[in-house]
């Protein structure tokens, strides 16, 4: 609403984007770590999956906090609804898929 008026165009100068760079490096590190765990180590399948899922959740938090400004914004209720809906959809697709394909496993 008031954002509509706040089109003040100042060529704001931000400092060096440390947050983003750290986020990028961490994301790359986690991705290659997951790849190495799956391909490089010969762990049991359950162990591999557990570790990879753990790394994925950690990476999701990196996305939320270092790139997606989840702590900023003027209307936190939008963030909350968005995240809750995201969790709902993620639950639907993961739990639903497992349930649906359970007969074939």
């Amino acid at each position: 609403m008031s954002e509509n008026q706040s089109h003040t165009v100042k060529q704001q100068r931000y400092g060096f984007p440390w947050k983003q760079v750290i986020g990028l490096l961490l994301s790359l590190a986690l991705t290659f770590l997951a790849l190495w765990i799956a391909i490089g180590l010969a762990l049991p399948v359950t162990a591999t999956l557990t570790i990879i899922v753990g790394l994925a959740i950690f990476q999701a938090f990196i996305q939320l906090f270092l790139f997606m400004h989840v702590t900023e914004g003027t209307e936190p209720v939008h963030q909350l609804i968005g995240i809750l809906f995201g969790i709902y959809v993620a639950f639907a697709v993961v739990a639903g898929t497992l349930w649906i394909l359970a007969y074939a496993l």
């Binding site: 008031s2 509509n4 165009v9 959809v89 639907a92 639903g96 898929t97 394909l101 074939a104």
Partner: protein, 655 residues
């Protein structure tokens, strides 16, 4: 050498069918014609500066609609070819392979390159105006979305003449769509073309979500927004959450086909059923992506031409919210017969039936809006009124299909085909035609002719029923979808003949509409007021077509139906005094979106043919465009007060 070139050409271009050669010739002639006209009238600079580089949401909307109308023509020709083949038993107008390709491209094009872009076009035009904004939140991204869609659609359409069309249906089920059973480039075209345009769709969803949440005029709380804007807000949420599943599914199948992985092949532990599962996890929300916006359009149009405020506004909104939540837990009803356990089928059967409740609530709200209204039967209103009964038939048959045990009878029969055409034509197509006629004056500054519009409406609507009503019975008589011909003596022939007559009638209706567009461009009634329909929402408060900056002053909103309230205040003589103009800040045009999307096309074409010498430079081009964009600081300009005064004076709005 010459022999190898010859064999390459024979494989590269689609050969052997006179209809394809005809298409080759007409594509070549049309391309030469366009280039010649642009060169002769020296319009290249105009095309580049006014359209290809624009970030103006209204122009992007118009380009979306032009592209969608062209695609509708192609999808319609596909439909007519199928109907021609099926009119009589044992025809050989198309062979089985060609028929498979035609129903695949028909479905893919109609959903992904007609319904979605048409809706994106209408929302680009109307949403920023309805919320009193000067553009969308991310104008650059908006242009990029359009060009990604456009080049994705072009890549998909190229399959028709180069390399061969996909033939695994619009749902592209594994294992048939996999590399082993479906060699060649057809399925690659599907995967890559749809993927590229899907990236654009996802970006549009994000863009409009942010626009509606952040750019509303002062005073416009969420529950004072026009209902079309509400429908787009909810649609955007569905786009953002549903499309990633499809992106992943397409990427996995691309990896299967291009690099020999086995996500969807049983051979190395993959699961073909997983494709159906992921496809429909996107596919079912997708039908609400193309339906909820037209619910919004009908709400606007019915309120406007009943000259009443919408009945049950809050209930309408909460119904759409309920539909969006339910839309993510019904996807299995597309494959009840895949062999799932009974509890799974029971759950998804019930969740599907639940969707009928909020939808039914909306139907009754529209009826109560009409109740005691002063109804004006304009062309957009006719489309909206016809939607209610025709769509309800599609909805009711949907509940029939939702019953899992009964679905074992209906599944993949023409009953199903009739059901989804009843919802997608009587819902989406009627809705986009309704919105097209309704917002046409806002787009171009003149009205479409009412008489021709009504002719087109009646012929299309009656023909639609002639085509699809008998189809339900044909399905119950046992004809299944996707069969390219059938023997005589099954009693299907008379119904098929009637259906083909209806299909031709729909084509005639479309041609009348196209003629109406051409005729009205020359003779159409000018809209000098900016408010030709006595509208209720803010898009009618500005001139037609709206100036580059939309509103000289950002309107202040205190109630629903904001423009109706402003007109009421003016009638009472309470109009506020004019404030002085201030320079307006606008985004600047940029060529990066179209160039970046063209690189994406090159990369995509390379991937389709597995020519990585082509795909890798294309991808590097895409990345180079992203880097170039990161260093653009001068991406905006101010419109000086003199220009605003001149523009406002030209439309008689300077007081």
């Amino acid at each position: 050498m010459i022999e190898s070139i010859k064999s390459f050409m024979g494989w590269f271009f689609v050969t052997g069918d006179p209809m394809i050669y005809g298409a080759d010739a007409s594509i070549a002639l049309a391309s030469i014609g366009i280039v010649a006209v642009l060169t002769y009238f020296k319009k290249w600079k105009w095309l580049w500066e006014e359209w290809l580089t624009t970030v103006d949401h209204k122009k992007i909307g118009i380009m979306y609609i032009i592209a969608a109308l062209l695609m509708l023509f192609r999808g319609g020709v596909d439909a007519l070819m199928m109907r021609a083949q099926l009119t009589l038993p044992n025809l050989h107008f198309l062979d089985a392979e060609h028929y498979n390709q035609v129903f695949t491209t028909h479905g893919t094009i109609m959903i992904i390159f007609v319904a979605m872009p048409f809706i994106f076009g209408l929302m680009n035009i109307a949403v920023p105006l309805q919320i009193g904004a000067r553009d969308v939140a991310f104008p650059f991204l908006n242009a990029l979305s359009f060009w990604l869609f456009f080049f994705g659609a072009m890549l998909f359409n190229l399959s028709f003449v180069i390399g061969g069309s996909p033939d695994a249906g619009w749902s592209s089920y594994a294992p048939y769509a996999g590399a082993e059973m479906n060699p060649g480039v057809g399925q690659n075209y599907y995967l890559i073309g749809v993927q590229i345009s899907g990236i654009g769709s996802l970006a549009t969803g994000i863009n409009f979500l942010v626009t509606i949440l952040k750019m509303r005029a002062p005073g416009m709380t969420l529950f004072k927004m026009p209902l079309f804007t509400w429908s787009i807000l909810i649609t955007s949420v569905i786009v953002v959450f549903a499309f990633p599943a499809f992106t992943v599914a397409l990427a996995l199948m691309s990896i299967d086909r291009l690099f020999g992985a086995h996500f969807f092949t049983i051979a190395a532990g993959g699961s073909p059923m997983l494709w159906a599962n992921l496809f429909w996890f996107w596919g079912h929300p997708e039908v609400y992506i193309v339906l909820l916006p037209v619910f919004g359009i009908f709400s606007e149009v019915i309120a406007t031409f009943a000259h009443k405020t919408l009945f049950g506004y809050a209930v309408m909104v909460w119904s759409m919210v309920a539909i969006s939540v339910l839309s993510f837990i019904t996807w299995l009803h597309h494959f009840f017969t895949m062999g799932n356990t009974a509890p799974v089928n029971a759950f998804f059967s019930i969740s599907t039936m639940l969707i009928a409740i909020p939808t039914g609530v909306k139907i009754f709200n529209w009826l109560f809006t009409l109740n005691k209204g002063r109804i004006q039967f304009t062309t957009p209103m006719l489309w909206a009124l016809a939607f209610i009964p025709n769509f309800t038939i599609g909805g009711i048959t949907g509940v029939m299909l939702a019953m899992a045990p009964a679905d074992y009878q209906y599944h993949n029969s023409y009953f199903l085909v009739a059901h989804f055409h009843s919802t997608l034509i009587a819902g989406t197509v009627f809705g986009i035609f309704c919105g097209l006629h309704y917002w046409w004056p806002k787009m171009f500054g003149y009205l479409l002719d009412e008489t021709k519009g009504k002719w087109a409406f009646w012929i299309f609507m009656i023909s639609f029923n002639i085509c699809f009503m008998p189809m339900y019975f044909l399905g119950l008589m046992g004809m299944t979808r996707r069969m390219y011909t059938y023997p005589a003596g099954l009693g299907w022939t008379p119904i098929n003949v009637v259906m083909t007559i209806g299909a031709v009638g729909m084509g005639v209706g479309f041609i009348i509409m196209a003629y109406n567009i051409v005729w009205s461009a020359i003779h159409g009634k000018k809209d000098k007021t900016g408010d030709p329909w006595d509208g209720r929402t803010l898009e009618w408060a500005t001139s037609s077509p709206a100036a580059e900056y939309n509103f000289a002053h950002i309107p202040e909103v205190s109630t629903r139906d904001a423009f109706e309230a402003m007109k009421e205040a003016e009638r009472k003589g309470e109009a506020d005094s004019k404030k002085p103009y201030a320079p307006i800040h606008m985004p600047s045009n940029t060529g990066i979106p179209v160039i970046m999307s063209a690189f994406m096309f090159v990369a995509g074409f390379g991937c389709v043919f597995e020519w990585y010498w082509m795909a890798i430079p294309g991808a590097i081009g895409v990345i180079a465009c992203m880097i170039a964009r990161s260093f653009v600081y001068d991406d905006h300009h101010f419109i000086p007060v003199e220009d605003i005064e001149r523009t406002e004076a030209a439309t008689g709005r300077l007081s």
